[in-house]
């Protein structure tokens, strides 16, 4: 098991008003899964993704990553954990605008103190893998939305994380581009055993996922494992 949440609750308080975003959610993921957290807006899927990604802390309950209890870690240790164990793909603002595609992919590896020669070699390799060979020197503003998301995927996997968490990765893409992106991630999942966890309300993603965990009002309403994902 890579990551699991045990009876996790998250309550936000804003100006005295409490909002229960998650209510007693327990979820476990194994290595190699291609799983989607689905549900309407406000269902708690992004909140759960943030908690599993060590970007936020639960109000109650536990989250464990490869046996390590996240609530016992300081903010700097959580930061280190994200650096070493996790990859992220966001809906928008994925890339650093002042860095080229190659430099964006190298970014996390540089934080990991990977030697420069290895960084470059790996970055060029994964950019090739995601179909962006030849665009290494382009800056994000010079690329389409789909290309930018591919660079984000490349960055996420180049650092060799235990799990890649993707929050609405197809939200800003047209269906054709979204489909190609999903095909890419499914291929990485099949061939390289990269574990993916999505937060989405996009039917394309739900269709592609082999396991769909549906949330409603902060609780898991269903947890469906399909024989195979279809894109």
């Amino acid at each position: 098991m890579i990551i699991e949440s045990i009876d996790v609750t998250k309550v936000y308080e804003t100006r005295g008003v409490e909002t229960r975003a998650l209510d007693g959610v327990s979820l476990a993921l194994e290595k190699g899964e291609f799983t989607a957290l689905a549900g309407p807006s406000g269902s708690g899927k992004t909140t759960l993704l943030n908690l599993l990604g060590a970007l936020d802390t639960p109000t109650s309950g536990k989250i464990q990553l490869e046996g390590v209890e996240l609530s016992e870690l300081s903010p700097s240790k959580l930061s280190e954990l994200r650096l070493r164990k996790m990859g992220f793909v966001f809906q928008a603002y994925n890339l650093i605008p002042v860095l080229t595609a190659r430099e964006n992919v190298e970014f996390v590896m540089e934080l990991q103190s990977v030697p420069a020669a290895d960084r470059r070699k790996r970055a060029d390799h994964v950019l090739e893998r995601v179909g962006l060979g030849g665009l290494e020197e382009k800056r994000p503003l010079e690329m389409s939305g789909g290309q930018q998301q591919r660079v984000a995927v490349a960055r996420a996997i180049a650092s060799r994380p235990s799990i890649v968490l993707a929050d609405e990765p197809t939200a800003n893409l047209d269906s054709a581009t979204a489909t190609r992106l999903l095909e890419l991630m499914a291929q990485l999942n099949r061939e390289d055993q990269v574990t993916f966890l999505f937060s989405t309300h996009d039917p394309l993603v739900m269709d592609a996922a082999r396991r769909v965990v549906r949330l409603h009002d902060g609780r898991i309403s269903s947890d469906e494992v399909k024989e195979s994902g279809r894109t």
């Binding site: 700097s76 070493r84 990859g87 992220f88 966001f90 928008a92 996390v108």
Partner: protein
């Protein structure tokens, strides 16, 4: 990586960066220029005082400081001092003097003055009196005197006019002697122009019944900055019974004026640096705010708070260093353009009463740039801390949620 990102982030909004750079460089250029003019004025004041007769160092008999009268005199004359003074290489020139108070009278008026008996040739090397002759000539023949143009005007005296000097001699008796005006001085010095009358040393010694005694020895050194060291050398090589003082000890008011100028200048610099700090902090806060989600993403993928803070501080440091460099360059260009000075005589004619010349010439020393540059750099770093901390302390999840 941090340096690369910080450098490129500066140019994401070139117009904003240009505005900040302009603000910093203009502020710094103004400081450099005013510092140079300030230094020029202060240096001018000190040089004027020294060249007007103060010298860098003076030797008197013990007790002169408390009782600057004829009785407190150097009775051996110049001879014993010559070997001591000539043995110190830093002593460029020296001259003996006899100073006393008296009255100078013409047919039309009489004025209380300081009477200075000098060795005409040696005096050329220690003051500008001999080089400031506007009419006539410097002291040559006996029974001649030289005075300033303002004093001459008050006495309605001109070249060749006979003036009578009356005073109390060493024995306390009233004495007097007539002298003809040999020369009239015009210098930017209240003392030279209006307060002193120069006689040949022998004439003054005769007038005051001093024999070979003198009041003081005035010394001009090679380097004004090392007068303390030279003072110590002199004090240890001279016989007891004499006091050696530097110009700072002789003219504490001048020192106070210079320090006051300096303090006022630093107050102005502080105001400029504070304004600069607020400007930088404001712009950086804006830049960090605009990049909230981007910073949230960087934190999410594992960039530590320390690195985020370092990146923002580095951006501030880079823009400040560029601004400082441009500002210093602009300031130095300004100093070069004003190298002939700013003539303010039209509206500041009486400044020479305070030893300030009417043409303000800027003056620069490399070491004067070090403190403002260090303070400027420190200002940049300190002013970036709040925006940097805001960036570093933001929670990734909150930052990513920001629209």
């Amino acid at each position: 990586m941090l340096f690369r990102m910080a450098w490129r982030n500066l140019w994401r909004n070139p117009r904003r960066t240009a505005v900040v750079l302009t603000a910093i460089s203009v502020g710094i250029a103004g400081c450099v220029l005013s510092m140079a003019i300030n230094l020029g004025v202060m240096t001018g004041m000190i040089d004027t005082a020294i060249r007007s007769g103060l010298g860098h160092i003076q030797i008197h008999a013990d007790g002169w400081d408390d009782n600057p009268e004829l009785e407190v005199r150097l009775t051996e004359g110049e001879v014993p001092f010559a070997s001591a003074l000539d043995s110190i290489p830093e002593v460029r020139r020296w001259a003996p003097r006899l100073q006393a108070q008296g009255l100078v009278a013409s047919a039309r008026a009489s004025v209380g003055v300081s009477i200075v008996g000098v060795d005409p040739e040696r005096e050329r090397g220690v003051s500008v009196a001999a080089d400031s002759i506007d009419e006539g000539e410097w002291l040559g023949e006996p029974k001649r005197l030289v005075l300033g143009y303002k004093l001459a005007s008050r006495l309605e005296a001109e070249i060749g006019t006979k003036l009578v000097i009356s005073a109390q001699d060493l024995g306390g008796e009233l004495t007097g002697q007539a002298y003809r005006v040999a020369g009239i001085i015009r210098a930017s010095s209240r003392d030279l122009d209006d307060g002193l009358v120069f006689l040949r040393l022998e004439d003054a010694q005769s007038l005051f019944g001093m024999g070979n005694a003198i009041s003081e020895v005035v010394i001009v050194t090679e380097d004004r900055e090392r007068v303390g060291l030279i003072q110590q050398k002199l004090q240890s090589s001279l016989a007891s019974g004499s006091e050696v003082r530097t110009w700072e000890q002789l003219e504490p008011l001048l020192v106070y004026m210079v320090q006051s100028f300096d303090s006022m200048a630093w107050i102005m610099y502080a105001a400029v640096f504070i304004a600069m700090a607020f400007g930088i902090a404001n712009v950086l806060l804006m830049a960090v705010f605009e990049r909230t989600r981007e910073i949230g993403m960087m934190r999410a993928v594992g960039m530590s708070r320390v690195r985020v803070v370092a990146m923002v501080v580095l951006e501030s440091t880079l823009v400040t260093m560029i601004g400082l460099g441009l500002g210093v360059g602009l300031g130095l260009v300004g100093v070069w353009l004003l190298r002939d000075g700013i003539d303010i005589s039209t509206w500041a004619g009486s400044l020479d009463d305070y030893g300030i010349e009417s043409v303000l010439k800027p003056s620069m020393r490399p070491r004067d740039m070090i403190a403002p540059l260090l303070i400027g750099a420190l200002t940049a770093i300190l002013s970036s801390f709040w925006p940097a901390l805001r960036a570093g302390l933001a929670k990734p999840a909150d930052a990513l949620r920001r629209i």
